[in-house]
């Protein structure tokens, strides 16, 4: 491993080099992180508007039907793809790039490549979204964007690999923290998955099988790992204590790595795929309970005794919300892979609730929490308004809570009615309407939260207003809540170099 003398090496003693290495590393990540996070937030807002259009059509089915590009069949997949490839992927890359530089304790390498990647990625998602709205959607769920979009996104993903490997090569860290494993795995699996599904070799039932092998894996092996990586780093860091069981964290990672890949066809239970393929996927879906419980135990026992800190810390609040949602959605996923469960829930709104519990309540909320931690460190500024941060949290938290609850209940009712031949189909449609109203209302709440977040992000990136003189907490922190933090939320001067330790 080359000796990197351009980054001051972290050492065990308190010294100027100890202080400076973190500062240098964070500064090196500035423009790539800003590029990916800002881009992702743009797609979050765009995808939210598309989602609202799609959702309101359940209340106003004749709305905007004269324009083909605004019909449900195009707007809904456009929403899905902008959220998957635009928002959560790009935000995840921004968070990941900062994390792997921090954890490898060296400057981020390939910064120019990452900026190029961000540009290509944006072009790809734009081409893809326009392509779907123009009617060139492909018939593969979660990959509806036309091939032209992936002509940009696949190279963009490849550039990430170069940056990660180069940073890994120049690392100062003696030990690869657990988060680095999750990030490295996502960097490896993500491009492999996308390339595999884009091969023009699928048709018929094999296409459906490949579709759901891909869609399930892109969630669990591309979107999930950065979320877990962020949680494993931020929960201990914000609280100030290490992960409860570091051994367990490795068990959780390796069981995820070995089990998740086989579970995708549980989306096709009852379909024309061979029964043995579905059964294998159900078995591995059940085995996924192991890594999920491991992660849940680890995160919970790390936070236990410190839950009152959620009152003050935006990062901790969003990340813990997301971590708990990960447990919920993953256990739910294991259970709903069983045939007896799917008899009721498949092809209903329940599935939509589940997917939003995963991509939003888990991945998106952790992404928000991570961004609240990272952006002050790369912009050398602070979030402009604790009230707006709080508004962001409550609109998104209550929004997704109402969304998931309504569609879960409505989906189960829908499923039970679909199984009853004495219930007319139109009756079922009428009975889902109230739940779909809640969907639209909660979606609107979440969109308000996204607009607030976008505003806050713009302000911190341009360093708007007066330079804040302390962290943006939800409430002033009472003395003693944080051992080394003063009563007004500002950091007390610790017993080290006065200004140097003010990080």
């Amino acid at each position: 491993m080359p000796d990197d003398s351009s980054t001051p090496a972290p050492s065990a003693g308190t010294s100027q080099s100890d202080v400076k290495w973190r500062r240098v590393v964070d500064a090196s990540t500035r423009w790539p992180v800003i590029a990916f996070v800002v881009s992702g937030t743009f797609w979050l807002v765009a995808g939210s508007l598309l989602a609202l259009i799609a959702s309101f059509k359940f209340q106003f089915p004749d709305w905007w039907t004269q324009q083909a590009w605004l019909t449900f069949g195009r707007v809904r997949p456009a929403h899905l793809n902008t959220m998957i490839y635009g928002w959560i992927s790009m935000a995840g890359v921004g968070v990941s790039a900062w994390l792997w530089a921090r954890l490898l304790k060296t400057k981020l390498r390939g910064r120019g490549l990452l900026l190029l990647s961000a540009a290509l990625w944006n072009v790809g998602v734009l081409v893809g979204t326009i392509g779907i709205l123009a009617g060139y959607s492909r018939a593969i769920e979660w990959v509806e964007m036309p091939y032209a979009a992936f002509a940009f996104i696949v190279p963009a993903m490849g550039l990430l690999v170069v940056s990660f490997v180069r940073t890994l090569w120049h690392r100062h860290a003696r030990h690869l923290y657990i988060s680095v494993w999750y990030l490295g795995a996502a960097i490896l699996w993500g491009p492999l998955l996308v390339i595999a599904i884009l091969l023009p070799i699928y048709s018929g039932v094999p296409e459906a099988t490949a579709n759901w092998w891909y869609a399930h894996n892109i969630l669990g092996l591309w979107i999930t790992p950065p979320g877990l990586a962020a949680a494993y780093y931020l929960i201990p860091k914000v609280i100030g204590r290490p992960v409860h069981s570091y051994h367990l964290s490795y068990l959780g990672f390796w069981t995820l790595a070995l089990f998740y890949n086989w579970a995708g066809v549980h989306h096709l239970v009852g379909g024309p795929a061979p029964q043995w393929v579905a059964t294998v996927s159900i078995v591995f879906s059940a085995m996924m309970i192991i890594p999920v419980i491991v992660v849940a135990v680890n995160h919970h026992l790390t936070v236990v005794g410190h839950f009152k800190k959620l009152k003050y810390s935006p990062t901790l609040r969003f990340v813990v919300f997301g971590a708990m949602s990960y447990t919920a959605v993953s256990l739910q996923g294991s259970l709903q892979s069983f045939r007896y469960w799917q008899e009721v829930t498949h092809f209903t709104h329940y599935t939509i609730a589940h997917s939003h519990l995963g991509v939003y309540a888990f991945a998106t909320m952790i992404a928000f929490g991570a961004i609240y931690y990272i952006m002050p460190r790369v912009t050398n500024w602070e979030w402009g308004s604790k009230r707006l941060v709080s508004l962001h949290f409550w609109t998104t938290g209550l929004g997704i809570g109402a969304y998931v609850t309504a569609l879960t209940i409505g989906g189960v009712i829908q499923g039970l009615q679909l199984l009853d031949p004495d219930v007319a189909f139109l009756t079922i449609v009428e009975d889902t309407k109230p739940w779909l109203v809640v969907r639209s209302v909660s979606g609107t709440l979440m969109t308000v939260g996204h607009l607030v977040f976008a505003y806050l992000l713009a302000k911190i990136v341009v360093q708007s207003g007066e330079r804040p003189d302390g962290p943006t907490y939800f409430h002033p922190v009472p003395a003693g809540t944080f051992d080394h933090v003063g009563g007004d939320g500002a950091r007390s001067v610790p017993s080290g170099p006065a200004e140097e330790s003010a990080q």
Binding site: I201, P206, P236, G470, A498, S501, A502
Partner: protein, 72 residues
């Protein structure tokens, strides 16, 4: 009937599993999993120690100022 799609996915799975297992055993041979208990502390150091929450912003100038505390 064409088995190309199934063989393609199986190939990807086998290659992925092989890489994953190779990395796992390589890491084990290099001693990565030895002494895991202490490795949980690698994200902490004297500057950001255990017991001190790290939820604060950088509010110092880029270059450290002030003299080191002799008591530190």
């Amino acid at each position: 009937m064409s088995y190309t799609p199934l063989l393609t996915i199986l190939l990807v799975l086998v290659v992925g599993a092989a890489i994953t297992l190779t990395v796992l055993f390589y890491a084990q041979r290099k001693g990565h999993f030895d002494n895991l208990k202490s490795e949980a502390y690698v994200i902490f150091d004297d500057d950001e120690p255990v017991g001190e929450p790290q939820d604060q912003v950088f509010d110092a100038p880029d270059e450290p100022t002030g003299t080191p505390d002799p008591e530190a």
